[in-house]
């Protein structure tokens, strides 16, 4: 017994030793199906990380947020929160978007946190590319190429930081030193970060080439244009001006096209003509690429007329104010003087552009296959209008691209407005090549239409602003007229169908409405010099409103014009315009369930509240914007 007992110990020890030896091996399980920094340490890996940083531009993330919340086109924050558009759809569809439209937003709103998160996701992806470069030891990455990658990464992180800065102003600036491992991620927001963005862009400009092997990459001029945009937001007009001059005189696209306005205004909103000479920096959208619609313009996936050629969803409906803004005076110039009936408002809103809102509703029971209520056919108005109106919003009875005569209110959802979004829409004839099904439910609602982050028209009108502030009114007028001249080209107008019942037969040469686009100081029209500096400033502003309607800039333009953040348009300018917009809606539409009873609060609503959860998470380092709690 005793003997065998000791053998047991011997045996047992051997068993334990053998097993312990094998333990290490058995418990050693490296991650499978994924890459690690070490596996990416090559030129190809760095290239891929940089592409990954570009890939966040479309707002489609790996974290499961919804792309319409983080969309780069800012249809929510720049569009429905301004006088461009309404949320649309049913009141209770995407209910959390309603407080963004009516300025009652709570800091806990999920839209805001998704936008915030998507921007920092993009920033850290750019930083990942920068961080990977020193890890490459296999000789595949030259110093010069590494510097170029860093330059593009810095450009991209500037784009994302810029998005954050215009939304929230004081935001954490996150460079490549901020990581989870380092534990320094509670960055805080001590103040505006224009200087840091400008420094990144200046650094990028020292390296970036003027042309690139891929048109989607940022080049020297893209960085210069974004830097100029920063100066515009920072109100450094004299610093911006030489950059804008250089861009206008020498600028070229990444594929070597000399900067110019596209021949026709609508070329900017058509996937078939993307990356033309007007495209300073565009977010590239693709379809049919095996991603299930995730690389297309998914941020705008909800923004199609409802129940028509796409099944869903009726969001981002152009506002009455926007349509009214396209009315022109006898000279074909916009009406921008202050209104007498809505103090602080605009003359264009004194009377409403006739539309089909209400016609259908009053005639319940008398619907015909053709559209509006039987007995009272609605005829589109013959008012003189800026030609850009019908490329900016779908109006009753006007050709909606090559689909059909627009059904107006019948195509909209929720019965708030008679207008439908169109800039993000696609041609019927191009449906198969330029659209994709997004997410399995949105048939043809993802398009290959690029989003123009900066187009050449921006550059021209920014220079006009600088010139107005320098009181060089003739120069400003010349720049504005350059924009208007394109809008005046009859070949660029919307034309009537050859056959309304079969749009595939094409278009006539007859304009679809009474378009009239005049130039300042020409043929009896007043010149900027006549108008004086203050009115000329307004002329530039309304030109931006008309040129960039439904492109997600309006809210931020109003913000930077306002004196609150250093703009030249006077204190409370933004509040005045948006409150007048709300009043106009009540006057012309009756009850608007979303806007009714709400006002824009000056000194608060110019900026969005910093997402509450981020403030909680940063443990006191992140300070809320004024007026929010």
């Amino acid at each position: 017994m005793k003997k065998s007992y000791s053998k047991f110990i011997a045996l047992g020890s051997l068993v334990v030793l053998t097993l312990t030896y094998s333990c290490k091996k058995l418990l050693n399980k490296e991650p499978v199906g994924v890459l690690q920094s070490a596996t990416l340490a090559s030129k190809a890996g760095v290239d891929g990380l940089l592409i990954g940083a570009y890939a966040m531009l479309d707002g489609y993330t790996n974290t499961g947020g919804t792309e319409w919340e983080s969309s780069i086109d800012n249809w929510v924050y720049g569009g429905i929160a301004s006088d461009d558009a309404y949320k649309g759809s049913n009141t209770t569809d995407q209910p959390t978007a309603a407080p963004l439209e009516n300025h009652s937003v709570d800091p806990a709103n999920e839209f805001l946190s998704e936008k915030w998160a998507a921007c920092y996701n993009g920033i850290q992806r750019a930083n990942d590319a920068i961080r990977e470069i020193p890890l490459v030891k296999d000789g595949s990455l030259s110093t010069a190429y590494g510097a170029e990658v860093v330059a593009e990464a810095k450009f991209l992180r500037s784009v994302y930081h810029f998005e954050l800065a215009k939304m929230w102003r004081s935001v954490p600036y996150v460079d490549e030193t901020v990581t989870y491992a380092a534990g320094n991620f509670n960055v805080g927001n001590p103040g505006p970060i224009w200087d840091k963005i400008e420094a990144d862009l200046k650094a990028a400009m020292t390296v970036l080439p003027k042309t690139q092997p891929n048109v989607g990459r940022a080049n020297y001029y893209a960085a210069e244009a974004l830097l100029a945009k920063c100066y515009m937001y920072d109100h450094q007009y004299t610093t911006a001006k030489p950059l804008l001059d250089d861009l206008i005189n020498n600028g070229e696209t990444s594929n070597g096209l000399k900067y110019a306005l596209a021949a026709h205004y609508e070329d900017n909103f058509n996937a078939a003509t993307k990356n033309g000479p007007e495209s300073v920096f565009a977010v590239q959208m693709t379809v049919g690429d095996g991603s299930g619609g995730q690389n297309d313009n998914a941020g705008a996936v909800l923004n199609f007329p409802a129940g028509t050629y796409t099944g869903c969803c009726g969001f981002y409906q152009p506002s009455l104010s926007l349509a009214n803004a396209f009315k022109v005076d006898a000279n074909g110039l916009p009406m921008f003087q202050a209104s007498t009936i809505t103090p602080g408002g605009f003359v264009y809103n004194d009377t409403n552009l006739p539309n089909d809102h209400g016609y259908a509703l009053n005639k319940a029971g008398a619907y015909t296959l053709g559209g509006v209520a039987g007995g009272t056919p609605f005829t589109p108005p013959s008012d003189a209008l800026d030609s850009r109106i019908d490329w900016t919003l779908g109006r009753y009875g006007i050709p909606y691209l090559d689909w059909a005569l627009c059904g107006g209110e019948q195509w909209s959802r929720g019965d708030i407005t008679p207008y439908n979004p169109i800039k993000n829409a696609f041609y019927h004839s191009q449906q198969s090549s330029t659209t994709d099904n997004f997410g399995g439910w949105a048939a043809s609602q993802g398009t290959a239409d690029n989003y123009n982050l900066i187009r050449f028209a921006d550059v021209i009108l920014w220079r006009a602003e600088c010139e107005v502030e320098a009181n060089d009114l003739p120069a400003a007028q010349a720049d504005v007229n350059m924009i208007r001249a394109r809008a005046a080209i009859p070949a660029g107008f919307v034309h009537t169908f050859v056959d309304n019942s079969d749009p595939s037969k094409g278009f006539t040469n007859t304009p679809a409405a009474n378009y009239k686009v005049g130039l300042y100081g020409v043929a009896g029209a007043p010149s900027f010099a006549t108008l004086g500096q203050a009115a000329a400033r307004q002329a530039v502003y309304i030109e931006r409103q008309l040129e960039f309607g439904m492109e997600g800039h309006r809210f931020f333009d109003l913000q930077r014009y306002d004196a609150l953040y250093g703009g030249p348009a006077g204190s409370g300018y933004m509040a005045g315009i948006l409150n007048a917009h709300i009043k106009t809606n009540v006057a012309f539409l009756g009850t608007n369930p979303v806007l009714q009873g709400h006002t824009f609060t000056a000194g608060k609503n110019e900026l969005w509240p910093i997402p509450l959860h981020q403030i909680d998470l940063e443990g006191g380092k992140l300070k809320q914007n004024p007026g929010y709690n």
Partner: protein, 1091 residues
């Protein structure tokens, strides 16, 4: 002897060698064939089915219908004779003479052998908290998912069932004690696994639930959620018996207007009451009228995109359905009038279920076998859902060298087909059950051309809502199918290697293979998905895991000391891979045609590798009993787990338990009504690693077409590969620790009553949960870290009373109660809570320190604003108006903001309980199983869709018609109204997350009511049968509840969790998004036959 072994051992597994070596242990042989009879002391009648086993072996026999047995024995062997209800008796074999053994009756189950962690023990010697399930009672519930057997059958175990055929249940032991995976460890014939759903109930011999640390801590890192040990039946020496178990039944869905919905005329009225201009368009004839036709079309009969409603039959000429291009469709449907379409019963109907098992078992003293074949076909009441299963089991044992070496296997192979029978497809707003209330009753099942009716018909607003036809979706399921092949089992060998020592090795595991395909039809009848391309996908999943367990047991009794020591080594590993392919644009969707290659538009297939994991463990257990009175047990386990980073991989889990059989003490010996009384206490630690992903320790990068590819070349379709940081790693993370204290007693009283009571405290620290990080770290998934502490306390009580009124009538009553109180003690993030449980508005659940897991959080309603002066005087919110909800201003700032949200309810029950009633009168038997839950609240999210006008168009409840405020001239004219006014613009004032949705979720279900009859064996004998029992049964005969939805018993929703999905599956539950009900009546007839 051992020396030679050591030499050979270099190439062989050492432990296996130990066993082989014992083959040479000398054996004495002096065989004789013993015959005998077992009778009961009470009635002197034969005991049928008693076990007669040679002590220390697995060799034995079972008495036949006359109580007789035959067994090959040696003189000197000791026979252990046992039968339920009788005291176990040991008889030494002295000669070959006929032996009559008289068993004394017992009311106690103390001598029952209980299977515990890695060993078996007599119930009287157990010091831990172990619940044994009365398998006979449990099996009365007909089920295709064996977890359902546990419901109400063991104290401390909570089981939530779904009605979906073959769907796994949600099982937790002693409450929900973490935010993710609360599934207990199942040990099935020594194989550790995550569920027992595929084990055929007929094959089960015993189920033990290890609840406290004293019992479960020996499973270490896998034991924190409790352990359920299942053993399956073995063959017994003696004549081969054939047993048939089968039943056939039919299940009926709930009848009537299950969602309490309005009819089309009432909805027509309501549109006008609500002043909803968009929807009024649907009723051109005015309030209360229904138009004849609705249509939606393209260019066929008018200009693009026009649509509307009409009563003109001339419209019918335009009908066109173009399956190859839905852009050409002009679809017309004739609206339903009267009661309208009953969407619920369009997809629910009576469904048959049958199950058959044939078992052959038998053996000799050297080998036994049990072979079982099982066929299950359960059709779900939801059309096109089913579970069809074919299973074969073989359990066999062999012994040699005079029974000193024993080996064998237990295992089964299953092939099954399942369609829609899992929980993930329902309990979410996109489920077809949700579709039955989201569709307006005005919409017909079929349009005028015989194609599916739907919400497609009117543009310009959506007066028919945005739902999808559940009828279309469910019927389309017919071409989907999922096939599984599943193998589970073990092979084992054990040997008595020396006196008092037994070594055992067992290698077991599972192989799992799933293949499914599904077809996505163009949902032309649905509002949001009209057009697009058809799709079809095929999916393959394979995984496997193994356990290799090696133990040595030392067992000795000397004097009053009884010692048992077990030491073991175990290793486990898991691996798996998955392949998915989905393409689109098929010429035909004929399932006989569709293959991935037949598509016109090809997406790249994707495949994933499951992170392989492995666990290494050493464990030991010591049991010491002195004088049959004082019981001391201790366990220890050391586990290493691969998912944690080296340095954090190893953990040690100790436990100790004490018991005192106080009834053995002299001062209680004279107390006649105490048959047995044992006081118990235990403390120990177990762990949990179920809530962490395999790559958590590492920062990883991935590549994905959608998330990281980019069209850098500027084309329409070309993209270039990019990478993104997918996961942030944290190497410092380690296991969850469960510290469990348990105090209890087991008593047998009055010869008839057994009671077990336990009080426990389970403190879980280091809960694994994804760290909430500020966005400044980027978009990668945050690491899971040890974030919080939770504590559960509660009582488990069970009692059984066995009574016998006279020779003909006996009965038993069993009852058990489970209580738990969950409390979150700590969350170490920057805030002390997180929100989850998704809705269309705010999150429904807040998991916060100081509150139970899963507590509902939102606004407290305080009536309805009656007039404008109330709106201005009471705390208000944007959009407040007469006829809207008043909310409680809990923070007193005179405004209603998100800060006013408060605690609305608790989905955790005060207690759940089960009652088993059994009675026998002569050859008749009766039994009833009741199960109930008390004190829990349900969040009836169905009301979001049905009770408020401001939410999406769809089916609306009659309450909205009868009980909504009516506002005239700014004043509510019916002050007794309980619902906000029907208005289309009041989201905040109506449908936001509020106390309105909270309902009592208490219920009592009659799970089973059964009558049976056993035929006279003497008659049966003549036709060659041993036993025939027939029965008729009703399940879910009644459910007593105040809950207004389909079924208050709600499995967690995996789809509406928001954010992290299944990682949070235990963080939110008790929310009704439209669950597959589990309270549908079923009528069954069945038979058990033995010959």
């Amino acid at each position: 002897m051992f020396k030679s072994l050591l030499l050979k051992g270099r190439t062989l597994c050492l432990l296996l060698c130990c066993i082989v070596s014992s083959l040479v242990v000398t054996a004495q042989t002096q065989h004789l064939n013993l015959t005998g009879k077992v009778i009961g002391a009470d009635d002197k009648l034969a005991v049928v089915g008693a076990s007669v086993r040679i002590k220390g072996t697995n060799t034995g026999a079972v008495t036949d219908v006359n109580g007789n047995f035959t067994l090959s024995v040696n003189v000197g062997n000791v026979l252990v004779v046992s039968y339920i209800g009788y005291q176990q008796q040991e008889v030494a074999v002295k000669s070959g003479a006929f032996l009559t053994i008289t068993l004394a009756q017992t009311s106690s189950t103390l001598t029952e052998v209980v299977v515990t962690g890695y060993t078996t023990q007599l119930k009287k010697d157990i010091s831990g908290a172990i619940a044994t399930v009365n398998v006979t009672d449990a099996k009365k519930i007909p089920t295709t998912s064996s977890e359902q057997l546990l419901q109400g059958q063991a104290s401390g175990v909570t089981v939530i069932n779904s009605g979906a055929p073959g769907a796994a249940s949600t099982v937790f032991i002693r409450g929900i004690a973490n935010f993710g995976n609360t599934t207990p460890l199942y040990v099935i014939d020594g194989v550790q696994t995550g569920d027992m759903s595929l084990v055929n109930p007929s094959d089960i011999e015993s189920i033990s639930v290890l609840k406290d640390a004293g019992a479960a801590a020996i499973y270490g890192i896998s034991g924190g959620n409790g352990v359920i040990v299942v053993t399956t039946k073995k063959g017994k020496a003696g004549k081969t018996t054939i047993n048939y178990d089968g039943y056939y039944g039919t299940q009926e869905p709930k009848g009537g207007n299950v969602w309490n919905l309005m009819n089309p005329e009432q909805q027509s009225q309501l549109a006008f009451t609500a002043g909803d201009l968009a929807t009024e368009k649907l009723y051109p004839g005015g309030p209360g009228t229904i138009p004849t036709y609705g249509y939606h079309g393209g260019t066929a009969a008018g200009t693009f995109g026009t649509a509307g409603v009409t009563s003109d039959p001339g419209i019918l000429q335009y009908y066109k359905f173009d399956a190859s291009n839905h852009g050409n469709d002009f679809l017309i449907q004739k609206f339903a009038t009267g009661a309208g379409t009953d969407w619920f019963h369009s997809i629910f109907r009576a469904a048959p279920e049958q199950q058959h098992t044939i078992t052959a078992s038998g053996g000799s003293d050297k080998s036994t076998f049990l072979f079982a074949l099982n066929y299950v076909n359960q059709q779900g009441t939801l059309v096109e859902t089913y579970e069809k299963r074919y299973q074969a089991r073989l359990n066999s044992t062999f012994s040699t060298l005079n029974n000193h070496v024993r080996f064998g296997e237990n295992g089964f192979v299953t092939y099954k087909e399942n369609n829609g029978g899992y929980n993930g497809t329902q309990q979410q707003e996109g489920g077809t059950i949700s579709g039955t209330y989201r569709m307006m009753p005005i919409i017909p099942l079929r349009d005028v051309g015989g194609n599916y009716g739907g919400t497609y018909d009117v543009s310009g607003g959506e007066p028919l809502g945005n739902g999808s036809s559940p009828y279309a979706s469910q019927l389309n399921q017919a071409t989907n199918n999922a096939h599984f092949v599943y193998v589970q089992g073990n092979v084992f060998a054990e040997a008595d290697i020396a006196k008092y020592f037994t070594a055992r090795t067992s290698f077991g595991g599972q192989l799992y293979n799933q293949y499914y395909w599904n077809i996505g039809y163009i949902d032309y009848s649905s509002y949001e998905a009209h057009g697009g391309a058809n799709t079809a996908g095929e999916h393959e999943q394979f995984n496997s895991n193994y356990n290799w367990t090696n133990t040595i047991t030392y067992k000795e009794t000397f004097g009053k000391h009884n010692i048992q020591v077990l030491a073991g080594y175990e290793q486990k590993a898991f691996q798996g891979r998955n392949l998915d392919a989905t393409n689109q644009g098929y010429f035909s969707l004929d399932p006989n045609y569709v293959t991935i290659g037949a598509a016109t538009a090809v997406n790249p297939p994707s495949s994933t590798i499951d992170q392989p994991t492995s666990t290494l463990s050493f464990f030991g257990r010591a049991d010491y009993t002195y004088n049959d009175r004082y019981i001391l047990a201790a366990t220890i386990r050391r586990d290493g787990f691969s998912i944690f980073y080296p340095g954090h991989q190893w953990a040690t889990f100790p436990s100790a338990s004490l018991a005192w059989r106080i009834s053995q003490e002299d001062f209680l010996k004279g107390v006649s009504w105490i048959n047995d009384l044992k006081l118990r206490g235990s403390y120990g630690e177990a762990g949990n690693n179920g809530n962490i992903g395999g790559t958590n320790a590492y920062s990883t990068f991935k590549s994905n077409q959608g998330a990281s590819y980019y069209g850098i070349n500027g084309g329409l379709s070309s993209i270039q590969q990019g990478f993104y940081n997918d996961q942030i790693g944290n190497p410092n993370v380690t296991w969850e620790t469960d510290k469990i204290t348990d105090i209890g007693f087991d008593a047998s009283l009055f010869n008839h009553l057994d009671i077990t009571v336990d009080w426990y405290k389970k403190a879980v620290s280091g809960l694994l949960f994804p760290q909430d990080l500020p966005s400044t770290v980027g978009g990668a998934n945050p690491p899971t870290v040890n974030i919080g502490d939770v504590q559960n306390k509660g009582w488990d009580i069970s009692a059984t009373y066995h009574g016998r009124a006279n020779k003909d009538f006996s009965y038993s009553i069993g009852a058990n109660i489970t209580t738990y109180n969950s409390l979150i003690l700590k969350e170490s993030g920057s805030s002390n809570f997180f929100d989850t449980g998704g809705s269309r508005d705010l999150d429904i659940v807040r998991d916060q320190v100081g509150h139970p897991i899963g507590a509902f959080f939102g606004f407290q309603t305080a009536g309805i604003y009656q007039n404008a002066s109330q709106v201005s005087s009471l705390p208000g919110y944007s959009g407040a108006a007469p006829g809207a909800f008043i909310y409680k201003d809990t923070d007193g700032d005179k405004k209603i903001t998100s800060n006013d949200r408060t605690w609305l309810g608790n989905p955790n029950p005060d207690f759940t309980y089960g009652v088993n009633l059994n009675a026998n009168y002569k050859r008749w038997d009766f039994s009833m199983v009741l199960y109930g839950s008390y004190g829990n609240q349900d969040f009836n999210y169905v009301k979001y869709w049905t009770d408020f006008y401001s939410t999406f168009q769809g089916g609306k409840s009659l309450d909205l018609y009868n009980k909504a405020a009516i506002v005239q001239g700014g004043v509510v004219t019916n002050p007794s109204a309980t619902l906000p006014a029907a208005s289309f613009s009041q989201a905040m004032g109506s449908s936001t997350v509020s106390s309105y949705y909270i309902e009592s979720g208490s219920f009592l279900k009659c799970r089973v009511l059964q009558f049976g009859y056993t035929f006279d064996p003497t008659v049966l004998k003549r036709i060659g049968l041993d036993k025939v029992h027939i029965y008729a049964q009703a399940t879910n005969l009644f459910t007593i509840t105040k809950y207004s939805g389909l079924d208050p018993e709600l499995v967690p929703s995996l789809s509406n969790q928001g954010g992290l999905g299944s990682a949070r599956q235990s963080a939110a539950f008790g929310i009704d998004y439209g669950a597959y009900p589990n309270n549908q009546r079923q009528y069954i007839i069945g038979v058990n036959l033995t010959f």
